[in-house]
Symmetry: none
Subunit: 216 residues, 4 copies
Amino acid sequence: MKKATVFLPNKARIPKQKRGIETKEKIVKSATKLFTEKGYHQTNAQQIAAGAEVAKGTFYSYFNNKKEVFAEIIECIFRNVSEKVLLNFELKTYKNPADTYKEAKNLAQLIINQMLSEYKVNHKLLKQILAMALLDKEIEKIRRTEEKKIINLLILYMQTYKEHIRISDFEAAALILLKFTEEMLHQVKFGSTGIEKERLIRETEDIALRYLLPNP
Amino acid sequence: MKKATVFLPNKARIPKQKRGIETKEKIVKSATKLFTEKGYHQTNAQQIAAGAEVAKGTFYSYFNNKKEVFAEIIECIFRNVSEKVLLNFELKTYKNPADTYKEAKNLAQLIINQMLSEYKVNHKLLKQILAMALLDKEIEKIRRTEEKKIINLLILYMQTYKEHIRISDFEAAALILLKFTEEMLHQVKFGSTGIEKERLIRETEDIALRYLLPNP
Amino acid sequence: MKKATVFLPNKARIPKQKRGIETKEKIVKSATKLFTEKGYHQTNAQQIAAGAEVAKGTFYSYFNNKKEVFAEIIECIFRNVSEKVLLNFELKTYKNPADTYKEAKNLAQLIINQMLSEYKVNHKLLKQILAMALLDKEIEKIRRTEEKKIINLLILYMQTYKEHIRISDFEAAALILLKFTEEMLHQVKFGSTGIEKERLIRETEDIALRYLLPNP
Amino acid sequence: MKKATVFLPNKARIPKQKRGIETKEKIVKSATKLFTEKGYHQTNAQQIAAGAEVAKGTFYSYFNNKKEVFAEIIECIFRNVSEKVLLNFELKTYKNPADTYKEAKNLAQLIINQMLSEYKVNHKLLKQILAMALLDKEIEKIRRTEEKKIINLLILYMQTYKEHIRISDFEAAALILLKFTEEMLHQVKFGSTGIEKERLIRETEDIALRYLLPNP
DNA sequence: GATGAATGAGCATTCATTCAT
DNA sequence: GATGAATGAATGCTCATTCAT
């Protein structure tokens, strides 16, 4: 086993002109389509380039490698979700500053529904993303960074309504709620259990609210 | 991807003699080690064979391809978990046929703990397994088959203690409980959140029991 | 600039069986032919494999890369030269232990001629070798290792006949004599100056002997 | 290799205006820097252009290809050396027309020293140049053309002092002296033998003078 | 049964060069 | 004149799988 040190040039072009931006978008679009249809490992740079109607070399002038497009795609997806959820939360708390039990319940319901609905991504692509987040450190990091934002939001929510919240370990609770809701989302998305979507969502809400809020 | 095979010859040898069984075990052991250390995609047949101190050809006479060893490994792991949990459940219900509220709680706690402790598999290998279950239909099927057993067990548990259980949709509840517990297990295993194991387990128990059982 | 550490597997096969040895020889032969005809940089692994009538993969199972074949070829050539010169020197000094001035002269003449004649390698390949020894550290090292043997031989010669040698810095002298003789050899081989081979060899002998030995 | 061009369009621009000349100089400077630091083969047009702070297209409007810049660089270096040596020789023979033995010796010493000191080029770049002169016909030709000038100078020197020179084959002697001095220069420059520069230069002078001049 | 030499399609990546803007 | 986006042939290398010994 020899050990060699190599310099990775990081020569990815950052397009400034309209044409370049369009080309990059075409590549991302083609990559998303192929990753969704065939999976990440079954897709190669040649196919992505062909799908975007550009040459292989053009792909490599915008991205250093296949993983980089994937990272860009999922960063965009995750960010979109966390931004939407955050925005919605801010709107609601601004409009309804009063913190009654009923409001706490409504807001919790809202956040859960928000998360469940925001993953607009195709379920096949979602599988690829989840798998890659397990297999690849960099992708895992991107996922965790975006998840941290939602966790912070959940902690903020619990602090806002702390008088109506029965649990005390906000940090652990936020993580658990996020992971649990995500997992339920995946079950709903992948729907391979024969149990209908609605039943799962209803139980998800039940379990989360019962955990968060004391008995009325 | 490399080769689109229409006819699957399935020429894998099923060893009957002691020597053959030992060879197969050596191959499985080597594969497990490599999948854990380097990951599934980073491991090739040559390395598995070398690790088992057999020739590449020998590997291919016991397994049709790399995925087959992986399937065998995870089938063994999942089966082990479901068998242990099942066995334990049966022992407890046999010994304690009375179904008081307290017993229901104790047993629920037991099942959760059982599941949390039974995944003895290395966390790196677990990541590989979860990723593969997302990426590959066959692996997904194996996982689901074994999970179905635990779900049935949970449904049985709920039926046994139905008078003390507050939820009514046993099927959905069992799936949710399993998935939730699994997810928590992964958080505990991967431990990348900075939250201690004990806090996570405590909250997991809390959330599950509160969901299952009515307020005392 | 990112920095990455990569493990180079060094998976080159060392053939033990007759068939493997023959295959390796075929590859080396094909590589030598192509490096000579087209030059090192103009030759690729595919062509070497084709020339040896084996698959590309076979080439890569015997050599990690193109440079490795090249290194093997030149190591063989250099070693051959130094071994022949050394052998001849030992034979002569064994047969003629007396160290008169005349013998010193004869032996010097012999060594020069030996070196001049031993580079049996084609002049085009020699150019490739010299260029690579300038461009590549590893090839340079191989060259220097083999040259050191001849330098040691020349130092030994000077020590043996030290009473008849006019110079005192044996180490520098040996290096200079070697490099000078090599350079003359290249001029003779490359013959691009229009000066005949014989004139160059005559002058080479003259300059070397006049440097080494005092005036009679 | 990449493209077999039959028609050489030679569309390289010859800059007349100040700005164009400056741009060309920037390109040459950048190329020299990169060839020295990374080597000829490891440098590409993009990097040269980037180093000169011009676009890739600009590079190709001044030079038809990478080799052309290299040729320009080495032509400049070699010409510089031969011009300096020639100039110095003319100055000395003009100032000291008398041709005594002592003067012959002094002048020889001077020429050797001149050559040894004039290769101001970085040793890494020198390696690249020597290698390219071995690998490429055009570069070889440039080198030979410039060397011919020094050889002619040496022949002129020998003719001027022919009464004090012991050798008769001026042409062969001039070539040998040049090649020998060059080779010694490289040994001094590359200095990979552990022998100090001064010892090598002293021996070089000794060997050359002893070859040229009879015993006093 | 075991071996390991051989295969060759397949993939990631590079880069000299062109040309529309 | 300058630019830099685009090209695509070419290359080094891998590895699942076969099969003669």
